[in-house]
Assembly symmetry: D3
Homo-oligomer: 241 residues x 6
């Protein structure tokens, strides 16, 4: 059975990067993975949260939102509901943890990078597109600190990118769009570094549980997809290590 999009099991959706997309943020990236489009910004703040004060280390934290009509049906605005839902919480914690793997927080010094990922259009994989795009915005923000001489050497540790994989009709597939995501038996989000190590693995069986063999297949696919995404990230920063 072909995938709804006609892609084969191992093919990523086309990725586009517009950078900078807006003019104020220290880093501002519009990433499109197929029809999923996320605006990722990185903002530098010259202080750290209370629990880190006085330790000489920096912090990276993330917030995530979806515009009300980024989806097929209009979603109520979380600001209007007066609270952030469980899914949003989960995603913004995931993005924050993932991007902290990209930077040497000691070398960053006592400053916070605020990552904002706002979904303009959602067609599956918004959290993984957010991580992949925000990593570029983060790099732009750090480059700014280097260029202004605020930092004297680059605190960069790793490029970090993310992709979803899943099981559909017993076959592992890469980079699910919404049509696939809502019917796949298994949905797994994988975040990896440029040296092929895992930062996060979050796999969920929606219908039937999955076997160890299926897990191995999915991790392999994820690895291939992430390698290509990281190549794309690096092409934006040709002179970086």
């Amino acid at each position: 059975m072909p995938r709804p999009s006609g892609r084969d099991a191992q093919t990523l959706r086309p990725v586009e990067i517009i950078r900078p997309f807006t003019k104020y943020a220290e880093g501002s990236v519009l990433i499109a993975c197929g029809d999923t489009r996320v605006l990722c910004t990185a903002s530098i703040e010259d202080k750290v949260p209370p629990f880190l004060k006085g330790q000489g280390r920096g912090w990276v934290t993330a917030e995530y939102g979806m515009l009300p009509r980024s989806t097929q049906e209009r979603m109520p605005r979380e600001a209007a509901k007066g609270k952030i839902g469980g899914r949003t919480h989960e995603i913004q914690r995931l993005i924050g943890r993932s991007l902290r793997a990209a930077v040497d927080l000691e070398a960053l010094g006592e400053r916070t990078v605020w990552i904002d990922c706002d979904v303009l259009q959602a067609d599956g994989g918004t959290r993984t597109a957010s991580i992949t795009g925000a990593c570029i915005a983060l790099a732009d923000a750090l480059q700014g600190l280097l260029q202004r001489g605020v930092l004297t050497h680059n605190p960069w540790r790793h490029w970090v990118a993310a992709v979803s994989v899943g099981i559909r009709e017993d076959e592992a597939i890469l980079d699910l769009d919404y049509a696939e995501d809502s019917t796949a038996e298994v949905d797994m989000n994988v975040v990896m570094t440029d040296d092929g190590r895992f930062v996060e693995v979050q796999g969920t069986a929606e219908g039937a549980a999955f076997s160890a063999a299926q897990m191995a297949d999915m991790l392999l696919l994820a690895r291939r997809g992430i390698d290509r995404l990281i190549a794309r990230q690096k092409s934006e920063f040709p002179h970086w290590p």
Copy 2:
């Protein structure tokens, strides 16, 4: 004294319209007025709020938000603060009232149009750009209803557009950007229809109060600016009445 932007007192900033900007909404418009950029969507819902139920009339309502890094300093997200601030409330009520003047609510039938205006980049005049852009998104949404035969004749009454005017060094100026907005003595938002009538006039003296003559100057400037904005709106819909 020249304006910071070099524009003369009576010149609008360049206006750009991208339409559709996203794929799900019944109407989706990215409007740029200079460096101010707002994504305006119109979503159709086949029911009305409780206070209108059973009266055969429709409703148009609006919500407004700013992305955290649409501004020079990152603003905390209203969803994270758990409530919508006074300024946001004021603006979304203004947008809703303004767009209700564009449509014959009886002819719309028992359905609601949800207008969402999300500011991607803010350089003054976000509320007026929202109204001008959202009016086009609204027209798109209605056109869809006409094309699908849900409506048999067009409930359109007026094109509605908005602009800010102000007093700067005792002179009336048109379409203030952020640098002017934050230093002007008077700030007035004017919403008008295509037959040159007022829908809303909201003038505020931040420093010194303003005279009746200054008020007349500002209203005249606003009229000229809005005429040009409405011409721009109409050019998107050449076959509409």
Copy 3:
């Protein structure tokens, strides 16, 4: 067509002032405009909000509420709902801005005047009655600072008063009560100083938009009404400049 109240188009409702109405506040005024009755208090606090700290300037801010049974139908309490609605936000911002035009904030020094306007009975025009009454409470509070020697000269700049005007059956009318307010085609709130300048103009077309000529008529009526209201304010402070 006569007005429901029998008043002619240019007549204000009777105004009554009770002062002081309660004993703790530095200024405490009960203002009645016809059947609309608002308790306005002014409270002095010896500090300013964070954004003004260390600048040597003072601040005037306002809060507004309606008692649950100030209206024909009992309204739910905003405290019970756990949030302040859009209309309340809009009104308290309007009151605050209006009263800041009455005082030289530099001369006030680093202190805040809190204005509280609580509607005991509502028959239209609660926001304009709030402004007119609160201006007297503010004067009382300043007089107290002068009498106690905290201020050595009076930071008063202008008496500020407000009134509503509207269009009813194509005629401009002054000082709408609830029966008129809910049926008028246009509703405009005007705030002016004692030298005949505008502080705020907020006009809204509920049904049909209004013409420039109608606007001019309304502003003229408003001017006449406010002149009388300011005369009433001044009569309470015969020895003030």
Copy 4:
């Protein structure tokens, strides 16, 4: 040691009743007990809360608030804080329970009486003044139902009034004002019916616990005070049973 007010231990503060105080509520009473002034309204709603639906019984519920400047120091508004504090909750539950003793809820039929007690000026005893005043507002509301023929016989069971008692320098005293309330060792609020029975007794030792003998003294004083308050209530309704 004389009391700060000069009253002797067994003397109530002067009580004044203005009725009706506002024009919309079915019952509207301004009660003054010395310098404590509370506006009490009763509003009829033709339905009951979900837990009573279909049982043919009515309900009486209460809400309580203090205006921000009813006190010596301005108190933040609970609506602005976004939640109702513990003290307010406690008081509105007390008022509701107390007034349900005044009415035969079966005979009231499936309707709710909403009691609103808003403190305009606070000098101790605001919750007891609220109960005493609201009972009159409740009677007014029921009288309206009788006069309009909605009820054919009076569901009234008892006049209900309340007073505070306390221990000050080892002596029981009646009707504490703020100066006494904040220094008394014991503070007790007593709610009784016109046949001398208790509806509520809430005694709290702030400093030292109190003996059974002191309790007996306080209850006796409370009884005397409440008898006088109920006589005052009855004088407003000379033709009631």
Copy 5:
């Protein structure tokens, strides 16, 4: 008519104490009064709330919660509802005031004891069981301060315990379980010290008001019950004064 439980009017339910129940808290007590089971912990914090800062006195404060399935029907979680209800507020204020009578706050020094009472299973009398159990947890926490030499002499003033009494079929009964509590005409919670004085008395007539004689009967029963509860408390601390 016998009581549903078969107990006679003057009999307490069996009381069991497990201590310590959990390992981290400075005091941790599981108290069972019949089928009512409450986990009471006392936690020491080395600072006081702002209103007490710099006065050299300590503070005792309490929070109370019910697990969702501590009751026959599952109750929604207050954390999920986003606010604490009126009943919870009332109870936690009661527990805090009651336990402050147990300790000499001057001798405690500038530290706060946080009391947490969490109901694991509810069969009536959860607030009184909370007070009786938390008093033991508080003693454990103070004993810890004495043993570690933080305090050099014991700030203990009184054992404090609580019980409910009520009127059922015109007879006073002691220690109501849920079946009785929900049908009793009167419900009274009494908190007393080990020298037979009252800390709190809160009596509420749910149906018919109660007479002075009934009140006296209830207070007598409460006294007897509390004497036995305090004996039980003291048996846990045989070497305390």
Copy 6:
């Protein structure tokens, strides 16, 4: 380097089950995994959430909380803070998804099982202990439906249990306690069924990312631990399939 607890890398902490622990819930289990103790209840409700109405399928949902003093430092109560934090959201979504794998939701019919997991004492692994314990509570609740004849055959699909694994000094270890959890480089929670398939895998690198080989080691350890936990679950239900 030995583990702080002295366990070897592959040893689970001792597991104890008390069942039923409270008397009202349809299922009520106290599970202890070492010093971590969680009270898990299952409550049956005879309706489903709106999004499932009329489809003939059931639902399993979960809520999670920690008592304030379940931890070494007292944690503020989420009910008092007025909102549920991100971590709690994440955990309760995880528990719900995991337990939905245990039951055939079609066979359950239109009813909801509410799972409540309340941590009485926390020493690492509270979310995995919650899943393992709640699965037994769920089985008890279903057994009740079978015994009462509400269900005629058992909708049970799988026993589901969970355990944490991690990397500590480059070695994979099983079932981390708090001392290990807070220092481990990697923390992974694994949920599996009784046929050795994965329901959830959530791995997070706190410091350094982890390799594919380390991932394989951890999954193997998790498998072994879960096999033993499921054997323990089954021993409670010897007659189940």
